[in-house]
């Protein structure tokens, strides 16, 4: 709605806590990309009964990433409270 020029200029530097929060948001954004990347790695594996890695290893690989994603996601989600998030995003954009 408002004119882009009319927006208040957001500060370039933040205090430490705000800065930390920003990096947490970055992490929350990047996490699914990392997960997708990791889960697409099996595409590089050779296929077939002879060349392919054993099923059990593939299983362990996929589930390990899964568990890591869940754990990191849980940590991130608890440190990112929504109130802060909304506030942070408002001042950011």
């Amino acid at each position: 709605m408002s004119d882009p020029e009319a927006r208040p200029v957001s500060p370039v530097f933040f205090e430490r806590r705000t800065y930390r929060r920003r990096r947490l948001q970055d992490a929350a954004r990047i996490l699914p990309l990392i997960g997708a990347f990791a889960w697409l790695i099996p595409l590089l594996w050779p296929r077939g009964a002879e060349d392919g890695p054993p099923m059990s290893q593939a299983l362990i690989y996929v589930f390990t990433i899964w568990v890591v994603l869940i754990v990191v996601g849980a940590i991130l989600s608890y440190r990112l409270t929504l109130g802060e998030a909304a506030e942070a995003e408002r001042s950011q954009e």
Partner: protein, 908 residues
């Protein structure tokens, strides 16, 4: 072995339990003690509606056939949940602050409340959901068959189409049970899904029941898994060893399918009607998403962790040819673990029922909101919004929709024979549902997305989906084998599975690739090329910048309606005077002193209707709703849009009406000017006239009084004659002054009427007699006495005064050799007309609008009254509730007196 009837009894008991849970939760929520109902855990569990019977049974089947490919169906949603910060957070916020009721509503709302888009998404959703519901019903039937020992059953949810072929002659009781299940689910959904017409479309009872079902199916699958790993295989290491020894021992995945399915399931997780329902619509608190972001991936992980062990063990232990789709039930059964098998069956039953319930709620909401209601409103012609039964209609529409959707699923199941045709329907359904993805994501991230773009994308995607995947799935019934291979009319590059020469691909990947890419391209290109309406732009800004507008979700009650804001907005649309008049009228209606009414529903409805006349119903609703609903839209935004649309309307209206308006204005100005000039001339003339009228009798009075004073030699006869002349002239003066006063009093509206009963013929008789008094000249009056027999209830004296005036005028002005005045009475039903038509020259056209003005006289020469007669007549008729007008088109001068039938009422 448990009996079939026993199993049905268990199902019934389970359904009764669900009823109880839903009833209890609904009751608690209504009593305001439902806080615990809205816990993050319940929200997370409700998301498990994603895991249908297709995944419950089919995952193991798929693993047995294609190895780890089944995981893709879980990995996609996991990534979406882990990436909640990107999409879901925004979707949930938008859904809550914009009060979105379905994915169709989201798309429609984002693109300027377009109902066409909503209908499109709704139809797509119904098409994609119906086979999926059929699949759930089939799963229940087939798993029942396992217990009744009628065979291995048909494929349920194999990802591949090469599942075991259907058991053509399924027992009648199974088919019946499918119908019973369908009926039961429809009943449950109707009861708990349409209990309230909540503004937020939340269904606490349903959500709670779904959460319970989530626990049941997870517990059932894990129980089987634990039994398999520790009970049958003897531990984790042994299980891994068994995997190594199985036919599935190595990684053998089609890369395209792996990536494509992850993408598809991720997209479907957002776009499926039922997922949108639980993720966004039923979301009680945004904060729950934070928990669900990791808890739901955990749930999915637990759901899938035992799939491979069960599949491998099933392949190992069960006889070759056993349907792997049913391993979760048949494996425990083969091991004599009937209770476990029943539990597992209940898990599958839970998966099926929860899907059917939520999907039918979601789809019925769309159908009733976007198809039934608009149709109904159109059929009733807008009268509906005024009567109070609209809630009832909505609820009925919702209920009928639910039953229809479920029954549609049942008929699809019954007609398709429950064979392999259904096996691949899960994926087909997913691909159909995700066609809204470009519109949804584009809508919430890109302000440039337009309605036309969304329509183009949706249409392109849906068409390609239907052509390359959905219609071919029916087999040769729709597209013949030749059509499939050679394309329509032998055009090879149009063959459904090898579009544009892209042959040899997996049909699913082929369809996904073409539909999604062309969908997105059409969406983008048309969006870029088209221009959005103001409302679209507002909604676009709202959706894309949702976090800048809303500090946090606000509840309905927090939205205090600002009447003043409404007034400001209305002024922009209706125009200042009209808006203020409307608001004042409403305030009076409520008995308030000021100009601002209370924002109560009646007033808002009125306002909305008023606004709808200018900007259309959907927009008006959105505007009023957004101010009153306290949603995140700021008043400034609304006013900006109102301004914008007012400008647009003004501009186009100007363009259309400019020349007409200008010439009309010019004509009006010209007329007004002429009238003013004439009035001014006539005012001068009137002053002269009044002077003349006063001076003439005064001349006689003065002359004779001087004669009486100065002459001594007057005879008695002369004296008395002169005195009586003086007397008559004073009376004439008095009458003149009376006339002037009469007119002035009547113009001020302060004249009391003397209402009496009488007949029109008496009044005319009196008037004719009075007007003829003392005049011996030859005005002949023609009357029709029969037509004059009309009873009146009015001020007879005043009416007679009007008639006298008209007759006197005819006498005075009619210049015919033998003047004739016709008095004609006509009954017009609601009014009576008395026409006075003479055979003179009549009133020239240019004078006709002047003759009733009070300074008016026909001309300087035609002396007579003071020019007050007709002005007084007009005032009298106004007071009597009638009119007097010049009657054009007659040969001579003609006046029409119009009396309302019920003259008494008009005169108060």
């Amino acid at each position: 072995m448990i009996s079939f009837n026993g199993l049905v009894a268990i199902c019934l008991a389970y359904v009764v339990l669900l009823f109880a849970v839903a009833f209890f939760a609904d009751g608690a929520a209504r009593r305001g003690r439902g806080g615990w109902l809205r816990s993050p855990m319940v929200y997370t569990l409700s998301l498990s509606v994603y895991c249908t019977a297709w995944t419950f049974y089919g995952a193991v089947g798929s693993a047995a056939r294609s190895g780890l490919e089944y995981l893709t169906i879980y990995l996609g949603p996991t990534l979406v949940m882990i990436g909640w910060w990107w999409v879901l957070r925004k979707l949930v916020r938008i859904g809550r602050s914009q009060r979105i009721t379905s994915v169709a509503d989201l798309v429609s709302s984002r693109y300027g409340k377009s109902n066409l888009l909503a209908v499109g998404v709704t139809l797509l959703s119904v098409t994609a959901t119906t086979p999926y519901i059929a699949l759930q019903l089939q799963s229940v039937t087939v798993s029942l068959e396992v217990f009744s020992g009628s065979g291995t059953g048909s494929a349920i949810g194999a990802l591949a189409t090469d599942a075991a072929s259907g058991d053509g002659n399924a027992p009648a009781q199974s088919a019946n049970s499918a119908f019973l299940v369908a009926l039961g689910l429809a009943l449950f959904t109707v009861i708990f899904g349409t209990r309230n017409l909540d503004a937020n479309e939340r269904h606490h009872g349903v959500v709670m029941a779904i959460a319970v079902e989530a626990v049941v199916k997870l517990f059932a699958l894990m129980a089987v898994g634990v039994f398999v790993v520790w009970g049958l295989s003897g531990g984790i290491a042994e299980t891994l060893a068994r995997i190594e020894a199985s036919p599935l021992r190595s990684w053998d995945i089609n890369g395209g399918r792996w990536a494509g399915l992850i993408f598809l399931s991720a997209a479907a997780f957002i776009c499926l009607p039922r997922m949108f329902q639980v993720l966004v619509v039923e979301s009680a608190d945004e904060d729950h998403l934070r928990t669900a972001s990791w808890a739901f991936p955990l749930y999915l992980l637990l759901m899938s962790v035992f799939v491979v062990p069960i599949a491998v063990t099933g392949l190992d232990l069960l006889p070759a040819g056993a349907n792997p789709d049913l391993f979760v039930v048949t494996l425990p059964l083969a091991q004599g673990q009937t209770e476990l098998a029943v539990l597992s069956f209940l898990g599958g039953f839970s998966s099926a029922t929860s899907m059917v319930i939520v999907a039918s709620i979601a789809v019925s909401t769309m159908v009733s909101n976007h198809i039934v209601m608009p149709l109904w409103l159109r059929l009733t012609g807008g009268r509906a919004s005024m009567s109070g039964d609209i809630r009832h209609v909505v609820l009925t529409a919702r209920r009928v929709s639910i039953v229809s959707v479920v029954l549609l699923g049942y008929f699809y199941y019954a007609l398709s024979g429950g064979g392999t045709a259904l096996a691949s329907i899960g994926i087909i359904s997913f691909v159909g549902a995700v066609q809204v993805l470009p519109s949804v994501l584009g809508g919430i991230f890109w302000r440039g997305a337009t309605r036309l773009g969304a329509l183009a994308g949706l249409f392109t995607g849906a068409t390609l989906w239907a052509y390359t995947l959905f219609l071919p799935s029916f087999g040769p019934v729709i597209f013949s084998a030749e059509f499939m291979s050679a394309g329509p009319f032998g055009i090879g590059w149009l063959a459904p599975h090898a579009l544009f020469g892209l042959s040899g691909m997996d049909p699913f990947l082929h369809a996904l690739l073409w539909s999604m890419s062309l969908n997105a391209i059409a969406f983008f290109v048309v969006s870029v090329a088209s221009f959005p309406t103001p409302l679209e732009r507002l909604q676009g800004a709202q959706f894309v910048n949702i976090f800048q507008h809303s500090g946090g979700p606000r509840s309905w009650s927090a939205g205090v309606a600002q009447t003043e804001d409404l007034l400001i907005m209305s002024q922009r649309i209706l125009g200042s005077d009209q808006a203020i008049a409307l608001f004042r009228r409403e305030a009076r209606r409520m008995g308030l002193k000021g100009d601002l009414p209370e924002p109560e529903p009646g007033f808002l409805e009125t306002l909305e209707r008023e606004l709808a006349g200018s900007v259309g119903a959907a927009t008006a609703h959105a505007m009023v709703g957004q101010i009153v609903g306290g949603t995140s839209v700021s008043v400034q935004d609304l006013i900006a849009v109102a301004d914008e649309s007012a400008q647009l309307m003004e501009y186009s209206a100007r363009l259309e009406a400019q020349s007409a308006e200008l010439s009309r204005t010019a004509r009006q100005l010209r007329e007004a000017n002429q009238k003013l000039t004439r009035l001014s001339v006539q005012k001068d003339a009137f002053l002269s006239q009044i002077s003349h009228e006063l001076r003439t009798p005064m001349s006689s009075i003065r002359a004779f009084s001087e004669i009486l004073r100065d002459s001594d030699s007057l005879s008695d006869a002369e004296q008395s004659k002169f005195a009586s002349i003086i007397h008559d002239e004073t009376i004439r003066l008095t009458r003149l002054l009376d006339d002037i006063l009469d007119l002035s009093v009547m113009e001020n509206g302060r004249v009391s009427l003397n209402l009496r009963e009488g007949t029109l013929s008496d009044v005319i008789e009196r008037a004719v007699a009075a007007a003829a008094a003392g005049e011996g000249d030859g005005l002949r009056i023609q009357r029709n006495h029969v037509s004059e027999v009309v009873r009146l209830h009015t001020d007879l004296d005043r009416l007679a005064q009007v008639f006298i005036n008209l007759i006197a005028n005819a006498r005075k002005y009619c210049e015919a050799e033998k003047p004739v005045l016709q008095i004609r009475v006509r009954d017009l039903g609601d009014a009576i007309c008395v026409d006075f038509v003479d055979n003179g020259q009549g009133v020239p056209e240019e004078s006709r609008d002047m003759i009733f003005e009070k300074f008016s006289r026909m001309s300087d020469q035609k002396a007579g009254g003071a020019g007050l007669g007709l002005a007084i007549c007009r005032q009298i008729m106004e007071r009597l509730g009638g009119t007097i007008s010049y009657l054009p088109g007659e040969t001579g001068g003609a006046f029409r007196v119009r009396l309302p039938r019920d003259a008494a009422l008009a005169a108060e």
